[in-house]
């Protein structure tokens, strides 16, 4: 079976599964899953660029996704004028001090010859600079956090429509990726993995603790939306008319009182589905744009060079390719895509909760998507994103059902039975690991393996 057929067939299977969920559970659930599938697919594309194109092992996906989430807050929240007034002077000085510290230490690193003197000077510059920064920064933070701490207590954002945060999230993630890449790329693959794992934990620690920036663990809720609210739709004339027309067949069969009740229900359900469909449209748009660009990039000379570097760094370097620079490039691009997906996710949730970022869900699950889908193949990553998210979500009810069914011979109040049913949801972790290992062992290329074009074909 050719790869194209396999792709079509796989996506047909996914569509079928979503339709089955829609019929068996509800269309609301099915669309909810589809939206997260789309976001997962974008994240998987980002990881696939780094791992599939260039062989870079980024285990810090969670951190970049969280940066995207942060930018959703920074773009869409209204600025808190009082907080700015109370602190802007000190904040600017602190920022200048911080920038100066970095600039001076870089200059010192470049100009002074390596040795004990340089290390000592660097240590002094960094410690002194940070102390000076904190001298201005700490009072500013106290001032910001003391302004209505229960409601705001942070600087707020730019007050722009939240959809801009998708772009902004990508830019922020790219900027941080540049800093990280400058330091960590060039390390051996396993060291890079551990370094990125550490960085993602640090990013999370910052987001949890810097209340002036993101309100920390107090969370930011009620983010604005790029799509209409259900409650507004339910009172909008055209939507009500549309619903009346859509359901005219099933409504006609009922009497007056039943019609009223049923129609109300239809409008409520319909508004929720309509909102989800709007999101689906937006996310599909983003996914298609990124996918098209990725396919173009992978098939361009640039993509060929990336694969050449991945397959044999030394040979590529001998051909005059700047390996470290190219690695930095792809690391930044991939991280930006993850950042975009992170901003999309926070937009969909409507709130930013730093504690919800867990490495198993945000880093390792994405890795399972890429490996299972097929590393190096863009369609494979998209497929992996869809498939693994479906399995991840549906494994929970299935596991509970299996446990309930499997232990039905035990008494209702049996301790073991209750324990098994209660904890059945955790079996999905086990199952994910099993899927990853099976694919890695028996089909290392994934479901849709990378297409290697031979010369002349």
């Amino acid at each position: 079976m050719s790869n194209t057929h396999k792709t079509q067939l796989s996506f047909a299977v996914i569509a079928l599964l979503l339709i089955i969920i829609g019929l068996a559970q509800s269309w609301n659930v099915s669309l909810g899953i589809l939206n997260l599938c789309l976001i997962s697919a974008v994240m998987a594309l980002g990881v696939n660029m780094q791992w599939g194109y260039a062989g870079l092992l980024n285990v810090g996906v969670m951190g970049f996704a969280a940066l995207g989430g942060m930018s959703a807050v920074l773009v869409s929240q209204a600025p808190i004028a009082e907080a700015w007034q109370a602190s802007w002077g000190q904040m600017v000085i602190a920022a200048l001090c911080f920038a100066a510290t970095i600039a001076v230490s870089i200059a010192c690193y470049r100009k002074v010859a390596a040795g004990r003197n340089r290390n000592l000077a660097l240590a002094l510059i960094i410690i002194g600079g940070l102390a000076l920064t904190r001298f201005f920064f700490d009072p500013a933070v106290t001032a910001i956090e003391s302004i209505e701490p229960a409601k705001t207590g942070f600087l707020g954002g730019m007050g722009l429509p939240i959809i801009f945060s998708w772009l902004f999230g990508g830019i922020v993630a790219a900027g941080i990726a540049w800093c990280i890449g400058k330091v960590a790329l060039g390390l051996r693959a396993d060291y890079l993995a551990i370094a990125t794992l550490g960085i993602s934990e640090i990013i999370l620690a910052v987001l949890k603790n810097e209340d002036w920036l993101t309100r920390g663990v107090k969370n930011v809720t009620g983010l604005s939306r790029p799509v209409p609210y259900e409650i507004d739709l339910q009172t909008t004339a055209w939507f009500i008319d549309f619903m009346r027309w859509w359901h005219s067949g099933s409504l006609g069969a009922l009497n007056e009182v039943e019609q009223q009740l049923a129609f109300k229900q239809f409008v409520i359900n319909g508004s929720s589905i309509f909102v989800k469909l709007c999101y689906t449209g937006l996310f599909t748009g983003v996914l298609v744009i990124i996918l098209l660009l990725s396919v173009k990039a992978l098939n361009s000379p640039w993509g060929r060079m990336m694969r050449a570097i991945r397959d044999n760094e030394i040979a590529a370097a001998a051909m005059g390719k700047d390996v470290t620079r190219r690695h930095l490039e792809i690391f930044i691009i991939g991280s930006a895509v993850i950042g975009v997906a992170g901003a999309m996710l926070t937009t969909l949730d409507g709130q930013f909760t730093p504690t919800s970022y867990q490495p198993l869900r945000f880093t390792f699950l994405i890795w399972v998507m890429v490996i299972v889908g097929g590393s190096g193949n863009n369609m494979g990553s998209v497929l992996g994103g869809f498939l693994i998210w479906l399995v991840w979500i549906e494994a929970e009810p299935i596991a509970v059902w299996l446990m309930t069914f499997g232990t039905s011979w035990l008494d209702e109040s049996n301790v073991i039975r209750i324990h098994l049913i209660e904890n059945a949801q955790h079996m999905r972790l086990f199952f994910m690991g099993l899927v990853l290992l099976l694919v890695l062992r028996f089909s290392p290329g994934g479901i849709l393996p990378e297409v290697v074009r031979k010369q002349g074909s």
Binding site: G55, L57, N119, D138, V183, A184, L187, A189, D190, Y191, A193, I194, A195, L197, G198, I199, E201, I202, A205, K208, N209, Q358, P359, L360, F364, W367, V368, I371, E422, N423, A424, H426, M427, R428, L429, F430, F431, M432, G433, L434, L436, L437, L440, R441, P444
Partner: protein, 340 residues
């Protein structure tokens, strides 16, 4: 006279909040990092599943502890978990040998690149994590019994008449003693026994060791057994000292990796040094020094702020910054790595 008591008080304060916790946390990290470094030295990959191996071993020990407690068996002042350890270790050895047989052996025989091993270890991590959460649930479990303190802060105060108390938990003392015994045994094993020498030879130069008749399967088997012992004991000691929660063990992965790499990965002494370096820097950077300076400085110079360099939530950042510094300045680690 008052100056002397103030000075002693400052020392006691540092002992209580930095030295004792640093030593016990460092010992736990060192035992964990030893497991990582052994797997790296022999099997040549960074084992992401190590944190969850620790969680699994601890869980088995906890289950055995509960079973012993229900039978009314205990160790008096010492925690019952010590008695349950052999059972936990046995279960962990079975788990690791099984994962090696089903997962890693195939890649070893097909001479896969280290990255493949690493991704496979992510799969194992998921599965182990799933088992642990399935069996014992994602919540906190306490299994500490017996005496709580070796030295109690109140007794210390009344004994010495100082205003600062020193408290040493039994779990902390136990951690340090067990770590010393275990490390001594490990080094004796690696240096003196035939199998230990074979392991070191295999880690140093695989081909040469194979040529000399070292049985690779045996070396790998022994490595996993030792890793299981170290991981279970490290995890149990950590659980006794703090508390057991599957998620915390996943988070321990980062400081343990940092310890192994900082010390020089593949080098057991390095792992121990690294463990203490990481633990002490975490504790020292996140401690608020205000009280110490209140004792040491005259009243007029009393500090205003907390004198805390970083809030405690940034302890991961500390291990990571040290890791990056070492990688940049001395990529082989403090002690030269990559040889057992």
């Amino acid at each position: 006279m008052e100056a002397i008591t103030d000075f002693v008080s400052a020392i006691v304060l540092l002992l209580n909040f930095i030295v004792v916790p640093g030593l016990s946390y460092g010992s736990q990290l060192a035992l964990g990092a030893l497991g990582i470094t052994l797997v790296f030295g022999i099997l040549r990959f960074a084992n992401f599943a190590h944190g969850d191996t620790m969680a699994f071993g601890t869980m088995m020990t906890i289950l055995a502890t509960w079973w012993l407690q229900s039978k009314g068996i205990n160790l008096g002042p010492l925690p019952t978990a010590l008695l349950a350890l052999p059972l936990g270790i046995t279960a962990t050895i079975l788990l690791l040998v099984m994962t090696d047989r089903t997962v890693y052996r195939y890649y070893r025989h097909s001479k896969a690149v280290p990255v493949t091993f690493m991704i496979a270890s992510m799969g194992v991590m998921f599965m182990t994590n799933g088992i642990v959460r399935f069996v014992i649930g994602p919540n906190d479990q306490r299994f500490l019994d017996g005496k709580r303190f070796i030295v109690h802060a109140r007794d210390f105060k009344s004994m010495t008449g100082l205003s600062e108390g020193l408290s040493i938990k039994l779990s902390q003392g136990l951690t340090i003693v067990v770590a010393i015994i275990l490390v001594a045994l490990l080094f004796w094993f690696l240096q003196k026994t035939r199998t230990g020498k074979a392991m070191r030879a295999y880690s140093d130069n695989e081909d040469l060791a194979l040529l000399s008749g070292v049985d690779p399967d045996r070396v790998v088997l022994v490595t996993w057994i030792i890793t299981a012992i170290l991981a279970t004991i490290a995890g149990t000691l950590y659980g006794l000292d703090k508390s057991f929660k599957p998620f915390t063990y996943l988070q321990l992965l980062l400081p343990m990796f940092a310890a192994a790499i900082v010390g020089g990965i593949g080098n057991p002494i390095g792992a121990i040094v690294g463990g203490y370096v990481i633990a002490f820097s975490e504790v020292m950077v996140t401690y608020a020094y205000k009280k110490v300076f209140v004792y040491l400085l005259p009243q007029s110079l009393e500090p205003q702020g907390l004198l805390q360099l970083l809030s405690t939530d940034y302890k991961f950042a500390v291990s990571f910054v040290i890791l990056v510094l070492v990688l940049l300045v001395r990529p082989t680690g403090i002690l030269k790595g990559k040889v057992l």
